[in-house]
């Protein structure tokens, strides 16, 4: 888990910043942060997310910084559309890898939607990719700018998607929706999150968030029919396009 990665890399000058894009705020995320990392979640999820048994066994409560972003501001700033997505920022505060899937690959089609179980072959593939992503992180920790995984400015820009008019309008809906949610105007809040989803169908954060604002759903996992319907509607397009770990240096 990330805590194990942090324990390994923090002495090499790497800080980990976990940002919970969660309008439910502290109430929604507390259990997952305070508990031993993701221990409360089924082991099937570890396989799904590609965590090797070795890393899964080293779960511990995070000592890295865990922030709560109720208004999804960081998503707006960095073009983050799903969880987990990672961004690498160097010592000078420059982006050296823009938002991309943080070591997770697409398993949604082969997985059992009740148990989250996936076939062994897919689990192997997922673990291999997760390990490769963490190895890339280790390489960057060791070699800094000389690491082939720290991308050139041209390559970073090439991989970024510029914000559209729909994106900034959606972010404004989320800003308003989060305010109304905090004021207890749940139905109005939901309306604005749905508008954000309509404007940015590729933002899975908005989509999941819009489904999870009811008090009895805050802090739980969105895997209802509405979610699967949206996943199915993608056809062959990937849900988690894997991070492109080809080296440029």
């Amino acid at each position: 888990m990330w805590q194990a990665v942090y324990a390994e890399l923090k002495d090499q000058g790497v800080e980990i910043l976990a940002v919970a894009l969660d309008t439910g705020g502290k109430k929604a995320v507390e259990a997952a942060i305070r508990a031993a990392d993701c221990r409360e979640r089924p082991e099937a999820l570890a396989r799904l997310m590609g965590w090797s048994p070795a890393l899964w066994a080293r779960q511990a409560p995070p000592t890295y910084t865990c922030l709560i972003d109720e208004a999804h501001v960081v998503a707006e700033l960095y073009g983050i559309t799903n969880v987990p997505q990672g961004v690498w920022i160097d010592e000078q505060g420059r982006i050296v890898r823009p938002a991309e899937s943080a070591g997770t690959i697409d398993m949604v089609r082969s997985m059992n939607r009740e148990t989250f179980e996936i076939p062994d072959a897919d689990a192997e593939r997922g673990m291999a990719h997760r390990d490769a992503y963490i190895d890339a992180l280790r390489d960057w920790a060791k070699h800094g700018a000389a690491s082939g995984y720290a991308l050139s400015p041209e390559e970073v820009r090439k991989r970024m998607r510029g914000p559209s008019a729909a994106d900034v309008l959606a972010a404004t809906h989320v800003r308003l929706g989060r305010h109304l949610y905090a004021k207890g105007q749940l139905e109005r809040a939901k309306h604005h999150f749905k508008e954000a989803v309509r404007l940015c169908p590729e933002s899975w954060n908005y989509r999941r968030q819009s489904n999870m604002l009811d008090p009895d759903k805050v802090g739980t996992l969105n895997s209802g029919p509405d979610f699967w319907e949206a996943v199915d509607a993608r056809g062959d397009r990937q849900f988690y396009p894997p991070a492109d770990l080809g080296q440029t240096a």
Partner: protein, 133 residues
């Protein structure tokens, strides 16, 4: 109306005396400055190093039209009940992102303690998103 809530950048300003009139949103300059940081000066509406020339139609009876200003700046504006939210322009977001300088932000941790990305300058930062959902 006198009880408008304005959401602008990360500012939330409640009980603003604002008058909605068709496409206009009239505010006293002092209220506009408090809610948005934009101050009416002789050069125009200014904030930090930036000044935007005020168009003749933006002022009336000593008030400033925040809606017209936002349109000019390309900022989306949305209204719900007495709350009005302003977004960022595509250009602002695009320039911030493509400069590759990681946009700064300040957010609370579980204990309410605030952290900024810029606190970590001098370290390599691996930032990842997650959600309880």
């Amino acid at each position: 109306m006198t009880n408008t809530t304005l959401l602008y950048d990360d500012r939330v300003t409640e009980n603003v005396a604002a008058t909605r009139e068709g496409q206009h949103l009239w505010l006293a300059p002092a209220d506009m400055q408090a809610a948005t940081g934009w101050k009416l000066e002789t050069e125009g509406l200014c904030r930090g190093d930036a000044c935007v020339r005020v168009q003749p139609t933006w002022t009336k009876d000593g008030k400033v039209d925040l809606a017209a200003f936002a349109r000019h700046m390309g900022q989306p504006m949305l209204e719900d009940g007495n709350a009005i939210a302003f977004g960022e322009s595509v250009g602002t977001r695009h320039d911030a992102l493509f400069s590759l300088e990681a946009p700064d932000f300040t957010l609370p941790d579980l204990d309410g303690k605030l952290h900024s990305l810029s606190d970590f300058r001098g370290k390599k930062v691996f930032m990842f998103s997650w959600g309880s959902y």
